[in-house]
Symmetry: C2
Subunit: 293 residues, 2 copies
């Protein structure tokens, strides 16, 4: 099995794809659309992309591409904790506190470690990289520049960097949700015993018949009286102009549940458009190591 992911190697998506497809041949792509297109073009069997609260990618890009371009089904979900570390070249192991004058990372990672930087390195200059992994690679290949990268444990390992300070992100309960897209499950669920199963979800996209105040309320009534639990709801522009919205709703459910099809029929009868982006099992990656060595 061949699985594509949003690269480069050492990114959070790389951590996710290794956990969800431990035996697959992996291939990194430069963008979310490229990663998804590769499945369509049969270069790969599945695509692993970030969906929510991410660093390198963007929720918007993934959802927009799924909704407007390629309706590849979501087949699996993996949530991983986002832990950022301050990484330096091994030669700077004992001297980084005096020598490092530049912090290098993706803009979102920099912002996520805003309080740490302000408190511990207020005089360091911040420079931006295209990804956390690219910043780690730069720190590794430029020992003379005394630059510190902010990146994850996988990047530290891949580029042989020393962890000068671990878990420097401002929020400890920070997670990113990744999804696998493809035409079939690939890995059997039994093979994923390292991961914690957290149930199943269905993701639907609903377009309202017209922009009136109570339409969304009617849609949610169809879920509420069946006691279907919505774990996420988000309105997004339809790209046909300002003010037209579609709704993306995640419903937590058993895979053999019979209530959801009824709710969807009821919502369609209200004049709404309903598309199912996938019904899929969900997993959580629990890190064992307290922090990278």
């Amino acid at each position: 099995m061949k699985v594509g992911y949003l690269g480069p190697a050492g990114s959070f998506t790389h951590t996710a794809v290794r956990a969800l497809y431990p035996d697959a041949v992996l291939k990194d792509y430069k963008s979310i659309p490229d990663t998804i297109d590769a499945v369509k073009n049969e270069e790969t069997d599945a695509a692993l992309v970030p969906l929510e609260n991410t660093i390198e990618g963007s929720v918007n890009l993934t959802l927009d591409y799924l909704i407007h371009h390629e309706r590849l089904p979501i087949i699996k979900e993996l949530t991983i904790p986002i832990r950022q570390h301050l990484l330096v070249h091994p030669l700077l192991k004992d001297s980084w506190q005096d020598k490092v004058k530049v912090i290098f990372s993706h803009p979102h990672a920099i912002s996520q470690c805003h309080l740490f930087i302000r408190e511990h390195m207020p005089h360091a200059r911040v420079e931006y990289a295209g990804s956390t992994a690219a910043a780690a690679e730069y720190a590794s290949s430029h020992p003379d520049e005394a630059v510190a990268a902010i990146a994850n444990a996988g990047a530290a390992e891949l580029y042989g960097l020393h962890t000068a300070s671990n878990d420097i992100n401002d929020y400890v309960n920070n997670h990113t949700r990744f999804v696998a897209l493809g035409k079939n499950q690939g890995t059997t669920l039994a093979e994923l015993k390292e991961l914690k199963g957290t149930g199943s979800k269905t993701t639907v996209v609903i377009t309202l018949p017209e922009d009136h105040s109570g339409a969304l309320h009617q849609v949610l009534s169809a879920f509420a009286w069946r006691r279907l639990n919505l774990t996420k709801i988000e309105s997004r522009p339809m790209k046909t102009g300002l003010g037209n919205y579609l709704f993306i709703i995640d419903i937590s459910r058993e895979m053999d549940d019979v209530l959801l099809p009824g709710a969807i029929k009821e919502i369609e009868a209200l004049g709404c458009g309903v598309s199912i982006l996938g019904s899929y099992p969900c997993f959580l990656l629990e890190e064992k190591k307290p922090f990278p060595e």
Copy 2:
């Protein structure tokens, strides 16, 4: 008046801040938290940051910082069309089609122009910059490298670049929503006659008493029977762990409307927490020029 914005100069936020505060002294900041903190520290009187569907910034960062750190009120909203152009050094004006082998921009801008790149420049190598403006600055200062930047018309003007191909983003109806944060309005609304007024909004953050299936439905009932029009609803993790969500809801309303306070009281009576992020006038920037010269 002094207004901070998410820089660098030539970014989309820079376009927005110039439109919303035409007479202010502007100061660019490196991150969304820095831009917001500057108001708190009284370095600036207001902050201009992206809120939705953005390129350089992230919705998540702005909302999270407002909700969890600094409750600065939203005082104005500006929506601007996102138009991306392929920019080259003027020396490459007639030869770019043969010479350019590298496209340089922010990862999100690259993804937004995915179809253009695939169709017109399939053999170009893609390189990532920390912002679209940084890519334009690089193209301007490295004529010998024959690099094309993807950035906006403001960056083309600021860095003296030639527009090789205009409006190359895949979606024409792509907009970004920016908000101004601060303690008082600053500019009077009469001064903004270049902008189109699009009404007023109130943004509220609602936390549910417990994670049960019908709670959100109850909250929306309070808006629905008053015919209050929700223009956006989004659930977001509360950062206290997976599965705890808060809801961010935008309500379109007249500034002197009397129905919303009643709805908020009713929602609080249900046991929900309600915080108002601001009640503010909204504007749209309509571009006059078909594309930059």
